[in-house]
């Protein structure tokens, strides 16, 4: 049994079929890249995975806690980095000491230390991304879902974030990353390519080359 199993899932918005009969699995410790143009159905699929919306058909089974990072970062701009981490840690029901310990680990892993007391709204965008990432992993989720984490970042910040992601996958976490940068496919173990709601390719990046260039 894989941590994430999606069987023929469909979602319609009125006459638009946003996700059309999609099936895929994510293995333990695997990084699955979800690729496609804007409007291909990536975000809808992710929101169903996070049970933010219900599918119209099909089954989704998720075995474990989910960490989620969305396009809009979901940070509270007036709170400092430390307070943001504290806040979300508390919402996940973690003890104060556990949150403090996790914060220490994460901030040394992501090199966030110099920014801990800075308000989120004053962070450079690359660091905002790092904070958003740390909030997604604060409760040591078994499954990590990143919705276009690199969109809008410069290439250096993108590379930095991907290093975080690949390093974090070694802890055995299953990771789903959606992106519309085709070159990022090569950071992933497998890629799933979506177009107009349908899954048109699924496999190792090298096997999907015809779609990637």
């Amino acid at each position: 049994m894989n941590p994430v199993e999606i069987h023929s899932v469909t979602k319609r918005f009125g006459s638009l079929v946003a996700v059309d009969n999609v099936s895929l699995n994510i293995g333990k410790g695997e990084i699955l890249g979800l690729l496609g143009a804007n409007g291909a159905g990536k975000t809808t699929l992710i929101r169903m995975l996070c049970s933010l919306i219900k599918p119209d058909g099909g089954d989704i089974s998720v075995g474990g806690r989910i960490g989620y990072m969305c396009q809009s970062y979901s940070l509270i701009p007036e709170l400092t980095v430390h307070e943001n981490i504290d806040f979300y840690g508390a919402l996940y029901g973690l003890d104060k000491q556990v949150v403090a310990e996790r914060e220490r680990q994460i901030s040394s892993f992501l090199k966030l230390d110099p920014y801990l007391n800075r308000q989120a709204k004053h962070l450079p965008s690359g660091w905002r991304q790092a904070l958003s990432f740390s909030i997604a992993i604060i409760h040591t989720p078994e499954i990590l879902i990143l919705d276009e984490p690199t969109s809008g970042l410069d290439s250096l910040s993108r590379r930095r974030l991907w290093r975080m992601i690949t390093a974090y996958a070694q802890s055995g976490t299953s990771i789903l990353v959606s992106t519309h940068y085709l070159d990022e496919a090569y950071y992933c173990g497998r890629v799933a390519i979506m177009n107009a709601g349908k899954l048109i390719a699924l496999g190792a990046p090298n096997d999907c080359k015809e779609y990637l260039c």
């Binding site: 933010l52 919306i53 970062y73 979901s74 979300y88 919402l91 996940y92």
Partner: protein, 360 residues
């Protein structure tokens, strides 16, 4: 030199911009229309139906003729007859009575001194009717000794202290600002930042998120209630009725404003939309129509009935009653029922609205 074509392009762009943006259209057309309608048509500044009570302890026949004449005036309804001065307070508390005319050895007019627009109007209207009456009775012989000149007295605010007038209206505005507008926009800011989405991924429920967000605003509202009380004390405005009832009323009104703010937030997506909607549907009607600036009596059917159901009207009525006239819970039960009903209804509708606009 500015090229003509360049300027035209900007103008054309701006016109398209305006007509394709619902928020701009709302501000540019609906808001002025609303203000014009309110000021031009609805608030003709003239009192249409003023309810008064009369008292004739000596059963004088001349007095009955005067009362018939007063009742015949289209702007006044004699709705109550009282037998003694002791019943006057009860008369003012009921039927929206604004004045009492007493015909005994002399003529005394008691006017409710807490409604700012009404005072001068009630005074001049009633004294005019009475002097017309004497003119008819004695054929303009103004020197006749039987002519009784009315004495006008202002109840509940005998010295017509001006501080009395704006207090309830100011409280009304403060709570719409703090409890409706700021709470509503702050909720939609979270929607904007995507923090709501992430909070929904945690074990929190929508109800917990909304409660957690609302409680700090509720505490700030209580702080403002205390400030209002301090202001009353500072200006020498004593709360005549029960202090507990006064605080209950203010807190209930704050809760009502919060519920309405939540309701508006649940129907919109952007903080700016909440702000504008709060102005149009809460601030303008409640401030201009609640009897704070213009008397509710100046409104005709059906506006008067609609306006009576506004939370602001209920609040101002009950505030003037409890604080200035010393009325108890029984006499102010109407406004309390209106406020409680609106609070509960708005809250439950907002929960339904949030289920739609917040990710489930």
């Amino acid at each position: 030199m500015l090229k003509k074509g360049l300027l035209t392009s900007v103008i054309v762009k701006e016109v398209r911009h305006i007509f394709r943006d619902p928020v701009s259209c709302l501000l540019l057309f609906l808001m002025p229309a609303l203000i014009l309608i309110l000021f031009g048509y609805a608030l003709s500044f003239e009192v249409h139906h003023m309810n008064i009570a009369v008292m004739n302890p000596s059963h004088n026949v001349e007095a009955e003729r005067l009362f018939t004449k007063i009742d015949a005036n289209p702007k006044i309804n004699v709705t109550q007859r009282i037998e003694s001065v002791d019943q006057m307070d009860a008369a003012f508390a009921k039927h929206n009575t604004r004045a009492v005319v007493v015909y005994d050895d002399g003529i005394d007019i008691f006017v409710d001194g807490t409604s700012p627009t009404l005072i001068a109007y009630a005074e001049s209207l009633l004294t005019n009717i009475i002097s017309d009456f004497w003119a008819e009775e004695y054929h303009t012989d103004a020197l006749n000794t039987d002519v009784k000149t009315p004495q006008v007295r202002f109840l509940y605010n005998p010295s017509l202290k001006k501080e009395y007038m704006p207090v309830p209206g100011l409280v009304l505005m403060i709570f719409i600002l703090v409890s409706s507008i700021v709470l509503g926009t702050s909720i939609n800011k979270e929607k904007d930042h995507g923090t709501f989405k992430l909070m929904r991924m945690t074990p929190l429920t929508n109800l917990q998120i909304i409660a957690g967000k609302s409680i700090p605003y509720f505490i700030i509202s209580i702080f403002h209630v205390l400030v209002v009380y301090a202001v009353c004390v500072y200006f020498g405005i004593a709360i005549k009725g029960s202090l507990a009832l006064f605080f209950c009323l203010c807190i209930l009104y704050a809760l009502c404003c919060m519920s309405l703010g939540l309701l508006i937030a649940s129907l919109c997506d952007k903080p700016l939309e909440v702000l504008i909607l709060c102005w149009i549907v809460l601030f303008i009607p409640n401030v201009f129509l609640s009897g704070f600036i213009f008397s509710v009596d100046s409104l005709g059917f059906p506006l008067k009935q609609i306006v009576s159901a506004l939370p602001g009207t209920a609040f101002i009525d009950a505030f003037r009653g409890i604080a200035y006239k010393g009325t108890g819970f029984i006499e102010t039960v109407g406004p309390f029922v209106i406020l409680i009903t609106e609070t509960v209804l708005a809250f439950f509708i907002s929960l339904i609205g949030f289920r739609r606009t917040l990710p489930k």
